[in-house]
């Protein structure tokens, strides 16, 4: 049963990625003008000799299916072509910046999941003033966009108090911690609130359930009830919302990287889009979609494995 579910989700993943790759590659051809202009970047028309050279190099005159297939297999082999506006190979541009982005996303994920789950559980268990306070703070945080939090953090913690640098990516572990703490906080803030709220709701629902009441009435120690009956059963929704949060981080990293001048692939995506350097944009968009969809699929599968009540038939 679970294997059929995994097989179906994997098939959907492949279909989604394939369709996304066709859209991303096809974007080159629905654009107004010669696709070669977009591959040069900068939006300026290059000389006819250069255009001819690019047509040859990228096989632009071949039928669409053929040139698409060549592009896709090239991607799978790690050959993503040349960026003419950066005068470098796309693969090299990306591998240079990948580390910063991975560090940032991992750091933010840590900042979300640990305090998010702790705060949510605390709010559900304590009730009263603490619960209300946490609810108000998380509801407000969820409405504050990442870029506004970035700007606020730069203002308070960087300019006014000088605790952290406002710009750059840092070198080595300590340097990265120093430079990426503010970006990770900005990236984490609204997701942290989201995870806390879902945790709170899940724990409260379990606390009110009959099996918890039965366990208590049988005199099972509170600590044990909490661990075995409440948290174990609330783990499903908490895990799945944490996974969604991590997937969201991957997609949202570009905004904080741009705001804090972090030299990562998210900022590269935005800057190359502004330069209309499509070779870089296509590669990064494909990578982001693959990671995003893969994380979401993984979360669905693990959630289903954790909780047998999840209907495997309706999972699609």
């Amino acid at each position: 049963m679970i294997w059929r579910f995994i097989a179906r989700r994997t098939a959907m993943l492949v279909v989604t990625v394939l369709v996304a790759s066709i859209v991303i590659y096809g974007a080159l051809f629905i654009a107004p003008g010669d696709p070669a202009t977009l591959l040069v970047g900068g939006g300026k028309p290059p000389s006819p000799r250069v255009i001819e050279e690019i047509h040859r190099q990228y096989h632009l005159d071949d039928p669409f299916v053929q040139s698409y297939w060549r592009w896709l297999t090239g991607m799978l082999h790690g050959d993503a072509g040349q960026s003419l506006s950066y005068r470098d190979s796309v693969t090299h541009l990306i591998t240079d910046r990948m580390g910063n982005t991975l560090f940032l996303v991992a750091y933010a994920a840590l900042l979300i999941i640990l305090p998010g789950v702790a705060l949510g559980t605390l709010a559900a268990l304590r009730g009263g003033l603490g619960e209300n306070l946490i609810t108000v703070v998380t509801t407000t945080l969820m409405a504050v966009p990442t870029f506004v939090i970035s700007v606020l953090l730069i203002w308070w913690l960087s300019v006014r108090w000088g605790w952290f640098p406002a710009y750059g990516s840092g070198v080595g572990f300590a340097g990265r911690i120093e430079h990426l703490t503010l970006p990770a906080l900005a990236l984490a803030a609204s997701w942290l609130a989201y995870v806390a709220q879902v945790t709170q709701a899940a724990v409260r629902a379990e606390l009110a359930s009959e099996h918890v009441e039965t366990a208590r009435s049988r005199g099972i120690p509170e600590r044990f009830v909490l661990r075995k009956h409440v948290l174990r059963n609330a783990a499903g929704p908490i895990f799945s919302v944490s996974g969604v949060a991590v997937a969201g981080l991957i997609a949202g990293a570009s905004i904080v990287e741009q705001a804090f001048g972090v030299n990562g692939i998210g900022a590269l995506l935005i800057q190359s889009a502004a330069k209309q350097d499509l070779a870089v944009v296509q590669t990064l968009a494909l990578i982001t979609v693959v990671v995003f969809v893969a994380v979401n699929t993984l979360v669905d599968v693990v959630t289903a494995a954790l909780d047998h009540r999840v209907s495997l038939e309706a999972g699609a």
Binding site: T16, I30, P145, I255, L278, A285
Partner: protein, 291 residues
């Protein structure tokens, strides 16, 4: 869940006694509605109430703090921040409104036709919505900006596509339930055409659900549009828009003058909180009535 309820909602708002009891029972919702109404009104009346031209550069009054002449100060080229906030509200609200309306109409048409026709069309629509769902909206918009050039129109179109599944999935589920109700087969047996049943009966009955989804998506769309302008791929300078104003203010922050970013950021946050409260309120109300 019927056209009767929309009508009763409309009657409730018109009859002032009903409105008063609504305000008493729903204080938070009423406050949120007031915030939205004031901001919308201010953006519409911007030419009447704004003290300056939003793009008027004044080299004699660069980066000033609050004063009687400039209530919220001026930016680094001497433009009045209050006037820019008021004018900026127009694009900041219109663009996400366009996003959720386009997405709402398109996805509802897809969803209802999928539920009605079933078969391969339903499978195609569901698969399409799933694929779009797997595509982060921001990435889709960035690719669109790379191809067609940066600008607000490109962002609105790309985000409209990205928002299809958020509305479409919910409407499709509701439409599937609706199409199985006895009255639909009764109308069919009476010889009414599929078009007429869908347009005259099914769509009006689904309207409350679609509208709640549209309202709930609006706040997120506003954040996405503003974020897109913030990273420089949406609204282009010198046009006044909230997301772009937050970005413009960052140079001021490093110099210790956070006003521009702060005010524009506060405007975004307050408005989005108000919209989300309204969306949640409507959704709770709808659920209560369906039960």
């Amino acid at each position: 869940m019927s056209s009767y309820q929309i009508a009763s909602l409309g009657r409730g708002l018109i009859r002032s006694s009903r409105l008063r009891s609504f305000v008493r029972g729903h204080g938070v919702l009423a406050a949120a509605g007031a915030v939205v109404a004031v901001v919308v009104l201010a953006s519409v009346c911007a030419p009447l109430i704004a003290p300056y031209d939003p793009n008027a550069v004044d080299v004699m009054a660069v980066s000033q703090g609050r004063s009687a002449a400039h209530w919220l100060g001026t930016d680094d080229t001497g433009r009045d921040i209050l006037s820019r906030l008021l004018y900026g509200a127009r694009l900041s609200l219109l663009a996400p409104a366009a996003v959720v309306l386009i997405a709402g109409v398109l996805s509802s048409a897809l969803a209802v036709s999928a539920a009605w026709l079933g078969g391969w069309w339903d499978r195609t629509v569901s698969a399409l919505l799933d694929v779009v769902f797997g595509f982060p909206g921001l990435v889709l918009a960035v690719v669109a900006a790379a191809v067609f050039g940066a600008g607000l129109t490109v962002a609105v179109v790309a985000l409209s596509v990205a928002y299809l599944p958020y509305i479409g999935r919910v409407v499709r589920n509701a439409a599937l339930r609706e199409c199985q109700l006895p009255y639909v087969s009764a109308l069919r047996m009476l010889g009414m055409s599929g078009w007429r049943i869908c347009l005259r009966h099914v769509v009006p009955n689904l309207l409350p659900i679609a509208l709640v989804q549209v309202t709930m998506s609006f706040g997120y769309a506003l954040l996405d549009v503003a974020a897109f302008s913030f990273i420089g791929l949406g609204t282009q300078p010198p046009t006044a828009e909230w997301g772009l104003m937050v970005a413009n203010g960052t140079s001021g922050i490093l110099a210790g003058r956070p006003e521009q970013s702060l005010y524009a950021g506060v405007a975004i946050v307050v408005f989005v909180i108000a919209c989300n409260l309204i969306g949640n309120g409507l959704s709770t109300r709808l659920q209560g009535e369906t039960r």
